[in-house]
Symmetry: C2
Subunit: 188 residues, 2 copies
């Protein structure tokens, strides 16, 4: 039996994206965003409010990075989702994160995060249905230790987080259930 729950943002899982950018003085700000997704093979759309400090920084610097949060960074990852860079001037310092400047775009890479997309601002899409910061993914960098022998990122070697918006919780990712474009061949 199905039960009606009314309208709600019921996509699950959502990623735990840490979006970082420089302000006009080269200071780092960063935020936690769950509402972001690939919108073209080399592009990512972030549905984040225009008034965020990070959004304003991206509009100014024309670049940002998006890191994937893992279990060991859960405390600062959650913190940057609560504290506002418009109100807390030392938000980045409080995280304990260490950042280095990307060699590809004008934005900081958080060293503690295992996977980071380095993005140039491609477009700001503003319609009745969305405000989206769209970045062109110029490069992805990852911790060497989570790259498999085939050169691909192996998520079993890390503890990436997901966001559960039903209960506002973070979970880790679980076991592999099957290969895509493979298990379904039984019905082809």
């Amino acid at each position: 039996m199905k039960k009606d729950l009314g309208p709600m943002p019921a996509v699950c899982p959502m990623p735990v994206l840490i979006v970082s950018a420089y302000d006009g003085d080269g200071r780092i700000n960063l935020m936690n965003a769950a509402w972001g997704m690939i919108c073209q093979t080399d592009k990512i759309a972030l549905f984040i409010d225009e008034d965020h400090k990070t959004t304003q920084n991206i509009l100014l610097s024309k670049a940002f990075t998006v890191g994937l949060a893992d279990r060991k960074s859960i405390v600062p990852a959650d913190y940057v989702g609560m504290a506002s860079g418009n109100k807390v001037s030392d938000k980045y310092a409080r995280t304990g994160f260490h950042a280095v400047r990307s060699e590809h775009v004008n934005a900081p890479i958080i060293d503690e995060l295992p996977v980071t997309m380095e993005c140039e601002l491609a477009e700001v899409v503003k319609t009745d249905s969305m405000y989206a910061i769209v970045g062109r993914i110029v490069n992805v960098c990852a911790e060497e230790g989570i790259i498999g022998d085939d050169g691909k990122i192996d998520i079993s070697k890390t503890d990436l987080l997901m966001f559960d918006q039903f209960r506002w919780s973070y979970n880790v990712l679980g076991d592999r259930a099957g290969k895509a474009c493979s298990v379904g061949k039984a019905l082809m």
Copy 2:
């Protein structure tokens, strides 16, 4: 040490969304989409190609549903990501799924999926960076058995899938790692 991997769609986890709609004759078609996300509290954006049979059906019927795939539906969920409704006329029948018409929108609900967003077509966003089908979420329905005593969906009572685009695999979701807007209070 970080390693550069070049541009790639590195959001992880991605959801496993089963998008369903009627064609002009009331026949069901459905597809598997990973590139979809909430773009406003009551809206979902699907980054799916315009030439998909499901996309064409949505443009015609002005409605669709988005179900979350779980482990028990992994075979049909993967199948509908491989087979094209433009080529296979009995795609829905082959899945073994059972659909009922939504009471809220002109679209079918797949009974086997534990959570479904019922959507009216709100907007088609077409820019250099994206082609997005945006739906207004009119209602969410869920299996009674996965709703907790607090009336909220409890993902620990189901086996939702996620998509790992690095290795084209499905994983289940793992254990809870912490409460959002809570564990980060240590740094406030």
